[in-house]
């Protein structure tokens, strides 16, 4: 009798434990997070750019410069065809900050505009790096980079880069490819060109007709 009572008690306890466990198991469901759904958009505006460079896989290959080369543009004075930018200040172009957010870039007026950096003294240039804008994938049109010892760029002008295939800027048609802006900036081979002033043109971009600059670096060695 005592044994049966114990067996009954044990069975009851097991049953209760099983029921409690089952209840907890029923209470639990697998966690399913809702992934963000795509947001509907309208007809995309076509990106029509002549001679657009295909996207590159992986990081940019190393570019070799002379050991004595430094960023000669850092903190140097900048002038522009639009001396009163719509957003930001021209000093942002050579302040060393390459962040893509607002407050780090300067926005110039529509159509063809240029910015010019005075390196302070003639120099032998290895490379120019330019960041127009990289918070959104876009292509800047009519990108031209020139070097000269003449601050008015009338004499001794040497063109390092020209993606203006249709000569819309008026500096002659160029054969260099247009490219999509990224955080890496555009590296332009200066081929040891000599000069004191660097001027960069653009003519709006594929998103709007405004012109932007985050940073420009000019790598080279001051002439002795």
């Amino acid at each position: 009798m005592k044994r049966s009572a114990l067996a009954l008690l044990a069975t009851t306890l097991v049953s209760v434990a099983f029921a409690v466990t089952s209840l907890h198991a029923e209470d639990k469901i697998p966690l399913k997070t809702e992934l963000p759904k795509p947001l509907f958009v309208g007809t995309p505006v076509p990106v029509k750019v002549d001679n657009l460079e295909p996207a590159r896989s992986g990081k940019r290959p190393d570019f070799l410069i002379s050991a004595s080369s430094t960023n000669l543009a850092l903190k140097k004075p900048v002038t522009s065809s639009d001396p009163q930018p719509l957003l930001g200040d021209l000093d942002l172009i050579t302040d060393g900050d390459k962040d893509g957010s607002e407050g780090s870039y300067v926005e110039l007026a529509k159509s063809t505009q240029w910015v010019q950096i005075d390196l302070g003294a003639p120099a032998t240039l290895d490379a120019v790096l330019v960041w127009h804008f990289h918070a959104q994938a876009r292509v800047y049109l009519g990108v031209i980079v020139q070097v000269s010892d003449d601050p008015d760029f009338i004499t001794g002008v040497k063109t390092l880069y020209n993606s203006d295939a249709k000569n819309l800027v008026g500096q002659g048609a160029g054969k260099d490819p247009a490219y999509i802006e990224t955080y890496e900036g555009r590296l332009i081979d200066a081929k040891e060109t000599k000069g004191r002033y660097v001027r960069l043109y653009s003519q709006g971009n594929t998103t709007n007709s405004l012109n932007h600059y985050i940073e420009v670096e000019v790598w080279g060695t001051k002439a002795k």
Binding site: P38, P46, K48, Q136, T182
Partner: protein
């Protein structure tokens, strides 16, 4: 004998009256079928597929004023796909959706015969050639957008309206109202079209102004009821129908705004300018024969009104900055009908039937050659003006690589796919069979193991991720990487 003649006359005409539209439909459909599956899926089609899913899955249609138009196409596609058990976008194939618009495009060709009280048979046959073979009509029948359904309903409306303006019969006015309501329920651009077409075809009506007013009011009431029913998802969301009114301001703003703004001559360039893929024969032949049609039909009331319709819509659309190539169909349709008049006149003017047949064969061959080039060989070539922001064939490579990635991962199709980009359409269509896909406009904290698709603007956040570039559309790239 006389009595017998009266009986057998209509009996002989009736089969022909059905046979010609049927033949036109079948022939037009055959022209529209090739490439329905193989052409890359346009962003607008991808967005439409996801909106269709809402209707198919029982969620119901919800009007979104920004770009996404009326529900008629989605209801039609639902009626076509639901019986086949399709309720999710993952079950869809491109050809299924495009077959719907291919049928509406082919029906548009057949609908030309609906205009026969105003258009003689020879002119109707001529017009079916231009609409059936003309590259803009074929191209936009082959993508899942609203345009061919809109034109089909508009043609139906014009046929009914023309009959009503002659007879004043109230059932015709009510049917006209229903068709006007359906065109408005297809796409908002129906509003300016109707505002042009109604007065153009009303001028010179033999009806008294009282009967005109009565018929128009009856039609307007039916039209309003149809629009309300469609936009409110048959009464379940009445507020959505009111959104249509609120959207008027937005739509006008878009028409006058900077988005898709092109110079006034753009439609002329798209329709007539030769490109690297050849001369747009359809533009030149339709315009050329329409000019002959205007001359030969200068005393024909319907032909004159077609000319006015084409001209007014062309000037209106050219004056608005907003332009897309499929909007050309709104003036190419009356021009093609007018070209039917021109073709009939040319047929009659040629010295013999064999010469006329040879000339017709040349016209058909030129149209067919151009249509093959623009709708098949160069369907997504940026040089093709009909291909506006086309999706890239590179998406096939992306799909293949993602399939390989899924096959090699333990999760298979449940592989987590994280899309981090501001511009990712039509990727949701490409990724429709990956249920665990999320979309973020900015890089989020803690990217999870799985496939990562990153736009160029965000790639600096993933310096550790080896990535491969894929083109979504000309000039728009996405990079695929895998986070172990």
């Amino acid at each position: 004998m006389g009595h017998q003649g009266k009986v057998t006359g209509p009996a002989r005409r009736l089969p022909l009256g059905l046979l010609l539209p049927l033949l036109a439909f079948v022939a037009a459909l055959l022209v529209r079928l090739p490439g329905l599956e193989s052409r890359p899926f346009h962003t607008d089609e991808a967005v439409n597929a996801y909106i269709l899913e809402e209707t198919l899955s029982g969620e119901g249609y919800r009007y979104r004023a920004n770009d996404h138009h009326g529900p008629a196409l989605f209801y039609l596609a639902t009626a076509a796909l639901k019986p086949a058990g399709i309720t999710r976008v993952a079950q869809m194939e491109a050809w299924m959706l495009r077959l719907v618009t291919a049928c509406t495009g082919a029906a548009l060709v057949a609908a030309v015969f609906w205009l026969r009280p105003a258009l003689d048979s020879a002119a109707a046959i001529g017009a079916t050639v231009f609409i059936g073979l003309g590259s803009p009509f074929v191209y936009y029948s082959g993508i899942f957008i609203h345009e061919t359904l809109l034109l089909l309903l508009l043609t139906g409306f014009v046929g009914v309206f023309w009959r009503w303006r002659e007879s004043g019969a109230i059932p015709l006015a009510l049917t006209g109202g229903l068709l006007a309501g359906l065109t408005l329920s297809t796409k908002e651009t129906a509003a300016p079209l109707l505002l042009v077409v109604i007065p153009v075809f009303l001028i010179g009506s033999p009806l008294s102004w009282r009967r005109q007013l009565g018929g128009l009011l009856a039609a307007a009431a039916v039209c309003a009821a149809t629009v309300f029913l469609f936009f409110s998802n048959f009464g379940s969301h009445p507020a959505h129908a009111l959104d249509l009114l609120a959207a008027v301001h937005q739509q006008v703003g878009r028409g006058l705004g900077h988005e898709h703004a092109h110079p006034w001559w753009t439609y002329l360039r798209w329709a007539f300018a030769p490109t690297s893929i050849g001369l747009p024969w359809s533009g030149w032949l339709i315009a050329g024969f329409a000019a002959v049609g205007i001359w030969s039909g200068r005393s024909h009331p319907f032909a004159r009104r077609l000319g006015l319709w084409a001209l007014l819509i062309f000037f209106l659309q050219s004056a608005l900055p907003y332009k897309t190539p499929w909007l050309m169909l709104a003036f190419l349709l009356p021009l093609a009908l007018l070209a039917g008049f021109g073709a009939a006149a040319a047929w009659r003017a040629l010295p013999s039937r064999s010469v006329a047949l040879a000339a017709a064969a040349v016209v058909a061959a030129l149209l067919g050659t151009e249509t093959y080039a623009r709708c098949q060989r160069h369907a997504v070539d940026p040089a093709n003006p009909l291909a506006y922001s086309p999706s890239s064939p590179d998406l096939t490579r992306l799909q293949r690589d993602l399939d390989t990635l899924a096959a090699g991962s333990p999760e298979g199709r449940d592989l987590l796919v994280q899309v981090i980009s501001k511009d990712y359409w039509p990727l949701p269509w490409t990724l429709r069979r990956f249920p665990r896909t999320g979309y973020w406009p900015e890089p989020q904290v803690g990217v999870q193991p799985g496939a990562v698709l990153v736009g160029p603007e965000a790639i600096n956040h993933f310096p550790f991720l080896p990535t491969k570039p894929y083109e979504l559309r000309p000039g728009v790239w996405i990079f695929l990487g895998r986070l172990p």
